[in-house]
Symmetry: C2
Subunit: 219 residues, 2 copies
């Protein structure tokens, strides 16, 4: 009964996402949408990449959370433009929110926009934001079974990050099962193992982001 209504909401979002995508393309801008459960380490992965990226790239960040501007406050310390979207309890970002956030940036002087979605392994996968690439982040303590239980976000990802690798010695996590399941769900996406505690894989993560840049490095 409610399916047609949901379809209508998704159609409206897709139309707006098309506008956002055109805006990014017109400015030769790369936009990356990071999706994960709450607390998988999206903000920390952005924080770890920023010092390496901003050496010669101009980066802005959009933060999404149901409440608070805590994440934007963390990002602002790195001296990059940042906007916090508080969804007032909403479970995902939508294209109209991203479009509005982009009003706060001068797109002519940016190379990369990192969009941290609301912490939710399900709903964000339904909403195109006009991003160029999608990254699925999952953390070791969540368990090796998350890809098969929550497959959509892994299937659609352009890259998959297994974060908090430093916790592997401390939790039950079957890396073989994890690797097999993500490769089966998405043979195309590179899988990077990272830790923001001991810096494991941060070079690879940053190099992947850098490889997505359209614009020639400009600063």
């Amino acid at each position: 009964m409610d399916v047609p209504i949901v379809q209508k909401i998704l159609k409206a979002n897709d139309d707006l996402a098309g506008d956002v995508r055109s805006l990014f393309e017109a400015h030769n801008l790369t936009a990356v949408n990071l999706m994960s459960s709450p607390g998988a380490g999206k903000t920390s992965l952005i924080e770890a990449a920023l010092p390496l990226l901003t050496a010669n790239l101009r980066v802005a960040v959009i933060e999404g959370d149901p409440e608070t501007a805590l994440d934007a406050e963390r990002i602002a310390i790195h001296n990059v433009p940042v906007v916090q979207i508080e969804t007032a309890g909403g479970c995902h970002l939508e294209a109209h929110l991203v479009k509005k956030a982009l009003d706060q940036f001068d797109l002519n002087v940016l190379d990369l926009v990192l969009i941290e979605n609301v912490g939710n392994l399900i709903c964000p996968a339904e909403f195109d934001l006009g991003e160029s690439y999608r990254v699925a982040v999952v953390s070791v303590p969540e368990g090796h079974d998350k890809p098969v239980k929550y497959p959509k976000v892994f299937r659609m990802a352009d890259a998959i990050v297994l974060n908090k690798a430093d916790l592997l010695p401390h939790v039950p996590f079957d890396t073989a099962t994890f690797d097999e399941s993500v490769t089966r769900l998405n043979p195309r996406a590179p899988v990077m193992r990272t830790s923001c505690m001991d810096n494991t894989g941060i070079d690879a993560w940053t190099a992947w982001l850098r490889s997505r840049i359209v614009r020639e490095a400009t600063i």
Copy 2:
């Protein structure tokens, strides 16, 4: 624009939740709805409690996941009646799904139904399942800032479980900030610190569940 539609869906759910609640009450049954992010350890907390509870209580379990019956398979090993609800990508359980799952149990011979919601710290809080009590589970590696960012599920909880306490020495987690924020959001709910790895707090968690039982212990 979509608010009235969402209200209609919620109203239909609330009506059905009322039916489910009446069903539980008619059978002097306690039902507990466990809500958390993916991988916070809901299934492990149920697994840890079952051997202690089933000594003199009759327990059934309803498992919710977007895909797979992996959790129901884990519970079935404990020789209790269990139903897996696969939501086909859906981000929360609804009352009509619980009502249908209950068809699989003989409610006359049960004392407690544990309902493990889909792993999602946002959407499940919107949908009454007819449960008697709600438990919010959050795990240490998710970070101490989760209650203030995702407050609704903590505000409505009858008990709050901080799981994976064994990881406290290995991750940045400010216990004072966490404790202060959950007490401020919900002064009424007891906060239990647990670990399914070293059994910390499992006695308290099980005792809390046991204290919710309506029916006199019958076996």
